[in-house]
C-alpha cells in the first residue's frame, strides 16, 4: 500500500493508504484527528474546513495522493500554534468565539473558525478589510443558526489578528 507523507499540524506524518482516499478520512479515520467534521462529504457544508499551506481547503475533496510531502495541513487542533500560542492559549479567532459564546451544538464551529481565519488573511492579502459581502459569501452551514454571532466574532477576531 502506498505511503502518504505530509506535514500535519507542524509534524510530518506518514500513513499507509491508497492515493484516492480523501484527506478527511485519512485525518479522521486513520490518524484520529477529529476536529474537522463530516457534514456532507461533497464540499458543500464546509464542516471539515482546514488549512493547506495557510489557505482554507476542504479535505473531503482532496485525494491524499495529491498532497506533497512538504504540504502543511493545519486542522483546528493546530490553529493556536500557527500564531505561536503555547499550552492552553488559543488563536485570537478562537478567543473571539469564546467571548461571544458563539457555539451551540459546536459541530460546525471548527470549520467556521478555520474558514474565518482564512477569510481574514485573504482580504488582508487583497489589502482591505472584511465587508458584509464577504460575510454573506461564507458557505459554512450552521444548523443551530449561530450565524449572527459568527459574523460578530469574525469582526472581533479580525481586529485581534492585526
Amino acid at each position: 500500500m502506498p505511503k502518504q507523507t505530509f506535514i500535519l499540524n507542524g509534524k510530518p506524518v506518514t500513513v499507509n493508504v491508497n492515493d484516492d482516499v480523501r484527506v478527511l478520512w485519512v485525518l479522521r479515520d486513520l490518524l484520529g484527528v477529529t476536529g474537522p467534521k463530516y457534514g456532507c462529504g461533497i464540499n458543500v457544508c464546509k464542516a471539515c474546513t482546514s488549512h493547506l499551506n495557510g489557505k482554507a481547503f476542504n479535505p473531503c475533496s482532496v485525494k491524499v495522493g495529491d498532497l506533497r510531502k512538504n504540504d502543511k495541513v493545519t486542522t483546528i487542533e493546530g490553529l493556536p500554534a500557527t500564531v505561536g500560542a503555547k499550552g492552553e492559549d488559543l488563536h485570537p479567532m478562537q478567543e473571539a468565539w469564546l467571548e461571544l459564546d458563539v457555539a451551540q451544538c459546536g459541530y460546525c464551529q471548527p470549520g467556521q473558525i478555520m474558514a474565518a481565519v482564512a477569510l481574514v488573511k485573504k482580504v488582508r492579502r487583497e489589502g482591505r478589510d472584511i465587508t458584509e459581502a464577504d460575510l454573506d459569501r461564507i458557505r459554512n452551514v450552521c444548523r443551530c443558526g449561530t450565524y449572527v454571532r459568527i459574523r460578530e466574532a469574525i469582526e472581533k477576531g479580525a481586529r485581534a489578528m492585526r
Binding site: 481547503f57 495529491d66 457555539a103 460546525c108 443551530c144 454571532r149
Partner: protein
Amino acid sequence: MTALEHDPQATQHEQPEAPEGGLGRRGFLGWVMAGTTLVVAADLGLSRTAATAAIPSLPQVPEIYDLEDLQTDAALPTANLVTVTINKDGTASFALPRMEVGQGIVTSTAMILAEELDLPVEKVKVTLAPARPELLFNQLTGGSNTTFSTFTPIRVAAAVARRRLLDAAAIQLGTTVDRLTTTGGIISDTLGNTVTYGDLATSAASQVVEAVEVLLKSKPDYQVIGKPRNRTDAREAVTGRKKFTTDLDVPGALPTMVCRPPEHQGSPKRVRNRARVLKMPGVTHVAMVDTGVAVRARTFGQCIDAIRELEVDWNRGTVSGESDQTILAKLKAQELPMVVPQVPVLAQQVDTRFEFMFRSSAALEPYAAIADVRKDRAEVWAGLKAPIVAQGNIAAATGLRPDQVKVNVVTGGGSFGHKLFGDHAIEAATISRAMGVPVKLTWHRVDEPRQGRLHPMATSRVRATMLAGQVLSFEQRHTSVTTDFSHGLGEMITSLADELPTGLGGLGFAETIFTLTQELPYNFGVVTQLLNEPLEFEDKFSTGSMRNIYSPDTCVAAELTIDLMAKKAGKDPMQFRLDHVKNKRVRAVLEKVKKEGSWGRKMPKGMAQGVALHKEYKGATAVLVEIDCRPQTVGRDLGRETYTGPRVTKAVIAVDCGLVINPRGVEAQMQGGFMDGLAMTLSASNHLRDGRFLEASWDNYFYTRQWNVPPEGVEVHIVDPGSDTPGGVGEAAVGSSAAAVACAYARATGTLPTRFPINHGQLRFKPKSFVPSLPPSPTDGLKKTY
C-alpha cells in the same frame, strides 16, 4: 403552611418573604445515599404536579409518591432518583437524564446546581446519563421541557448536599450549623476557620440511606441564576476537542455506511455483486439489512466508493408514484369542515387556506451511532433524546433483553427533533449483529433529506367572522400527514390518561399534542383549533416532531389571517393585535417589539415590516421583522445552487420565558430559532416526485445560510414576568419567526403567499442520482482554496 405539608397544586417553591428555615416556605424531601463520598439524591417526580398543566412538554413519573407517604413509609429512595456526588477534589458531579444537542442545558443545569450548592459553576461537572429504564418516561428531551421539569429536583438534591456538608463541617469545626456560612465551595465559621467541600466529601458521606428535609433558596437570593453565562463546553467546541459520536474511538468499530433505496422507505431485495464489492480497497463487510445494504470499511471514503459500486435490486417504497400534488390533493379531501357557515348575514368573513411542504429536520451531524452487538450483550453509543425507547427497540432488533443492552448518550451535533428517534442506533445495532463486528455508522448527507425524518406536509384553513369591528369567531383546521410520536411522547400521554385511544397508530397522540400546544393568544370570540391526521398516511412517510412541531405552520396561517382581519377592520396590524391580546404577558412582548423595532417606520417600496406573536412553553414570543423584496435583492446572484430570494434585513424578538436561568442561552435559542423560522417560510423544503425526495445536499435543501441572515442583526429582548419558575426556550422562537417573516413578505409584495416555503414551486437545483445512491466524492478541492 407547615414545613412538610404537601400541596398538590403548588409543587414549585413558595413566597420569598418567609423567614429562612421557618414556616411559610415548603420543605422538600431528599436523600443522603450510602457511599464513600457524599452522594445525595432527589426524586425527579418532584416536578410532576406542575407537569399536569401541559402534557407534551412534561414527562410524568407514573409511580406517584407523595411526600407524606414517603415520610411515614420509610426513608427509602424511589427508582426515579437523580443524584449529586461531592468529590474529594471539591467538585460536584451530576448525570443529567436528558440530552445536550446544543440547546445549552448542560450549562444551565450546572448553574442551577451551583446556585443551590454555593459552589462555583466551574466546579460542577454535568454529564449525560446513559439510558435508565427505571426512569420510564422521565428521560426524554423534547418539548423544550428540560429546565421546567428538572428545576426543582435538581435544586433539592443540591440543597441536601449543602445541608449535609454543613452538618459535617459543624462537627469538624466544633460549632453549630447556624454559625456557618458557605461561599464558593468553602464553609466558614464566625471565627474565620474554614473547611472546603472537598475536605468534607468523605466525612459527610453516609453508610446508610437517610431522608433529609431541606428548604430551597428564594429568587431574591440567587447569585448565579439569571446572570449571563457562557457555555461550559465552549472551549471544547472551539478547539475541536468536543467529542461527537463518530469522534469516539471504540475498538474495532470501523466506518460503516448504507446504500439506500431510491424510493422513500424502500427496501433491498437482492445484492448482485457482493463478492466483487467485498474485494474493494478497505472493505471488510457487506450486509443486507431492512433499510439497505451496509458496507463496513477502513475509512468512510471507502464505504462511499463501495456503495457507488453496489448493484442492488430494490423493493418499492411506501409512497411509490406519489408526488407533492397527489399528497396535497389527498390532504385537501380530508380537511375538516368549519362550524360557522360561510357568509352569515351582515358579518364580515376572512377565509384562508395555506399549504406547508415537507421539511427535513436533519442536523449538521448526520445520524450516527456506534454499536457493538455480541451474542449475549450489546453496547451502543449515540445522540439520543429518548434513550430508553431506543434501548427497547435495539433489544427487539437484536433479540436481546433490554437489560443486556447498554445505551450511552453522546452529546449531539444538533437535533431539532431529529434525534428523538433512535433510527440510527437501531440501524447500527442491526448491522453490527448482521456482520458480527462492531460498527461506527454514519448516514451520508444524501440519505438525510431522502430517507430521514421529515416535518409532515400539512394544510391549514382559517375562518374568522367579524361583526361591526368585533371578532366573533376564529376557526382553524389543520390537516397533516401523520406525525410519528412513537419516540415516547405518545406513551407518556397514554400513561397519563387511560381513556386516550392507543391503538390508532399515533392518531390520538397527535391530536392530543396538537390540542395541548395550540393556544391562540387573542380574544377572538369562539376559537377552535383542530387537527386531522388522516389514517391513510400512517407509516407512509418517515416523519417526526421537528422543532416546535405544529406551531410554525399553524402560527403562519393564523397570523397571516389576522393581518387580513386587521385590514378588513381598517386597523394597523400591530394595533389590531394589541386590541385583542388575551393577557398582560403577551401584551408585554408585543409592546416590546413595537417599541424596539420602531413599528410603523417608513420603508421603501418593496420593503415592509411584519409582526407575529406566539404563546407556548409557559411563555410568549413576539417577533418583528423587516424584509426586502425588491428585485435587486431577490435576484442577487451568488453563484450556482445558491438560493438568495427575499432578505430579512432585521429581526427584533421579545421573549417572556418565565424565570430565566441563563440569559445568554435564551438569546442563543431565540436567534437560532429565528433562523429555523426564516427558512421554513422562505426557502427550506423537500420535493416529492414519484415516491422519491429530490433533495440530497445543503445546496438543495435551503436551510438559512449566511447570505440569508439579517445584516442588521437579530435583537433579543427578554421580558421578565417576575415568575419563580422557568418556561421552555428551545423552540419558543420558531413559530412567531416563521409567521412574522410571512406577514412581512405579504405586506412588502402586496400578495398573500399560500404555499410555504414560498420558493417551493420552482426547483432550483439539479437532483443528484438515485442509483448509485451516493454522489462521487469530489477531487477538485485544491482548486477551491482561499
